[in-house]
């Protein structure tokens, strides 16, 4: 683990500029009951060949932030009120619709949680994959179909040439997600965003799909953003981790650093609430309380109502991310949005 994370760190340095950099992103939904502040200042970046995991519970804004990157937020009710999403030297948020569309699918692709509902039920999988080649590359039906079969073979769908005409409901859950992956990777995008790609799958199939994603990433060198609520899924594959809470990235760092020495009380709480094979505990400790209502996020730190380290200051001030360097971490991007981070790191 140490060796691989160090390797990932040097990779980052050699790639002088990140592929995709999200900075201070704010997204809100204006609904009848008020304004839902779904993302409140999220920043992260992902480099070539790097896997970034975005971890958070439902309602933490992880999916919304990904949809903002893809330009999938319906406006109204959704509004991106601040921030930038830099990709290839350009801010996606200032692009016009046609430029944006040229990026979608071609440069940045996305796969979703439920592959059955995410695939169109009335078209064959081959048709849906080949549509990418037909619309983006202007290929003929025949050539596009041949490419679709190759794409299906690449994600290890057995008997691809025969199954190319089958419809989504004729595949198993794992195979359907492979088809989503084949479709997303058909044009060799630079970045793949996977939004809970294995949540709807059986545990054994989850591992297969994660392995496949990892393998394809190594082949193509794409940046991979893995959105999940499940620490176990990302532990083996992610290089770096962003932990989200109430629309903010509360902690960032390499997978190893965050796992071994969490620097935010929420991350620490998450670690204690899941079973681990390497540490023996008699009883799992849940995080007390509930996540905040995004219509009424508490003042100051959103986590303070559930936080065992809470101090007076947490109520009045929103903690900004603090760089955590040596001796805690060698990683330049390691940060925690907590006034008490030193205590959290010191605590076991």
């Amino acid at each position: 683990m140490d060796a691989s994370s160090a390797e990932a760190a040097t990779d980052n340095e050699s790639a002088n500029e990140p592929l995709l950099a999200v900075d201070d992103l704010h997204v809100e939904f204006r609904i009848e009951d008020g304004v839902v502040k779904a993302v409140n200042g999220l920043s992260y970046s992902v480099g070539r060949g790097e896997t970034l995991a975005i971890l958070g519970e439902s309602g933490s804004g992880k999916s919304v932030s990904a949809q903002a990157v893809m330009g999938l937020i319906d406006s109204p009710p959704g509004f991106i009120t601040n921030g930038s999403i830099m990709f290839g030297g350009q801010d996606l948020l200032t692009m016009d619709a046609a430029q944006r569309r040229a990026v979608r699918g071609e440069k940045i692709a996305m796969i979703f949680q439920d592959a059955l509902s995410s695939l169109n039920p009335v078209f064959s999988v081959g048709w849906q994959i080949s549509e990418m080649y037909r619309t983006h590359r202007g290929m003929s039906r025949r050539a596009a179909k041949a490419e679709a079969i190759k794409a299906m073979e690449r994600v290890k769908i057995p008997d691809a040439a025969r199954r190319v005409g089958a419809h989504p409901h004729e595949f198993s859950g794992g195979m359907r997600q492979r088809i989503m992956i084949a479709m997303a990777l058909s044009l060799d995008p630079d970045v793949l965003i996977a939004d809970e790609p294995t949540t709807a799958l059986d545990v054994t199939v989850q591992a297969q799909v994660m392995d496949l994603l990892k393998e394809l990433q190594e082949d193509t060198g794409m940046g991979l953003i893995l959105i999940t609520h499940d620490l176990g899924v990302v532990a083996d594959v992610a290089d770096r981790l962003v932990v989200m809470y109430a629309g903010r990235g509360v902690e960032q760092g390499t997978m190893h650093d965050v796992f071994s020495r969490p620097a935010h009380p929420y991350t620490e709480g998450l670690m204690h609430s899941i079973p681990r094979s390497d540490v023996h505990v008699d009883r799992l400790q849940p995080i007390h309380g509930n996540p905040p209502d995004l219509l009424r996020i508490p003042s100051g730190c959103a986590f303070r109502t559930r936080c065992p380290y809470v101090v007076e200051r947490c109520r009045d001030e929103i903690p900004e991310p603090v760089q955590i360097g040596a001796p805690v971490s060698a990683d330049a991007t390691r940060s925690s949005s907590c006034f008490q981070w030193e205590e959290v790191v010191g605590h076991d």
């Binding site: 893809m70 330009g71 569309r101 979703f112 439920d114 619309t135």
Partner: protein
């Protein structure tokens, strides 16, 4: 697909027997003696009555009469009315007229209904959406004969652009009655298309289509449309069956000698053979349309075939 169609056809057999037997039995149960009704004011000897009863199989028990009737149907014999004219002649004469009227009404439903529904659904709560919702509600709320008279006065008399009634002027004569006959279904089709499109636009696969970098025209026109039209096609198919069964009110308002009027006259005159013959024909057409809808349904939605 072949098995699916065969299964569907087999399912139609009990439906056919049930529906025709019901009609047959109901006409049989009508009060009054058809043979006496045939004579009208004139006197009729008992032996003539008996001979006629024998000729029309009226002395047989109901199931036997029914069996003989169905046996005749198989040979294309729908029986004859009391003037000795085969019912199949009435069908041949009336059906093309009804079919023309139905086709015109159906085209209005499909073209205007689906287009209005789509335009309304794409921009939900927009001006056009409100316009469609209000106008369709108005059409649905007004009885069809009122619509018919209004259309006659406005387009036929005031503007004089189409004939007021009758079928003397060929296809032009069918425009106004077709529009009136199709208007209520047109309103339903527009509303159904609209709500189905709105539902489908929220579906996950639409999000996928957008994330594939497709144009919004393609996302709506290719990905969403086909899914949205599945319930609309069902409705349209069943409705076409109903249209081909004749339209009593529209036909009488516009003085069109179609199937609906013939059935109505048959009922008034207690002509059992005409009523049963025409109704049986309508049932067959209706079943044919249902079968067509089921097949179309399976073509549109590949998930159906395995049910």
């Amino acid at each position: 697909m072949g098995r699916y169609i065969i299964r569907r056809v087999l399912q139609l057999i009990p439906v056919f027997i049930g529906a025709t037997f019901l009609i047959f039995a109901m006409v049989f149960a009508l009060p009054g003696d058809p043979i006496r009704a045939l004579a009208g004011e004139r006197s009729q000897s008992e032996s003539v009555r008996e001979a006629l009863r024998e000729e029309y199989n009226l002395n047989d028990p109901l199931p036997v009469q029914y069996a003989k009737y169905v046996g005749g149907l198989a040979k294309g014999d729908f029986g004859a009315d009391f003037r000795g004219r085969p019912v199949s002649d009435t069908i041949k004469q009336r059906v093309p007229i009804t079919a023309r009227l139905a086709l015109v009404a159906f085209l209005f439903e499909v073209i205007i209904g689906v287009a209005a529904g789509m335009l309304a659904g794409i921009r939900q709560r927009g001006f056009f959406d409100s316009l469609v919702l209000i106008s369709t509600l108005t059409v649905i709320s007004i009885p069809i004969f009122v619509l018919g008279f209004l259309a006659q006065i406005t387009f036929g008399l005031r503007l004089g652009i189409v004939p007021v009634a009758g079928i003397k002027q060929g296809w032009v004569s069918y425009i106004l009655p077709g529009l009136v006959l199709g208007s209520v279904s047109l309103a339903y089709v527009a509303r159904l298309t609209r709500s189905s499109l709105i539902d489908n636009l929220k579906a996950d696969y639409v999000r996928t289509a957008v994330s594939k970098g497709l144009s919004s025209r393609r996302v709506v026109g290719v990905h969403t449309l086909r899914n949205s039209l599945i319930p609309v096609v069902t409705y349209l198919g069943i409705d076409l069956g109903a249209l081909l069964g004749g339209a009593i009110i529209t036909e009488s308002v516009f003085n069109i000698p179609g199937v609906g009027g013939a059935v109505f006259d048959g009922v008034i005159r207690q002509e059992g053979t005409t009523v049963v013959g025409l109704t049986t024909f309508i049932i067959i057409v209706y079943m044919g349309m249902t079968l067509l809808v089921d097949i179309l349904y399976a073509v549109l939605d590949p998930r159906i075939r395995y049910d």
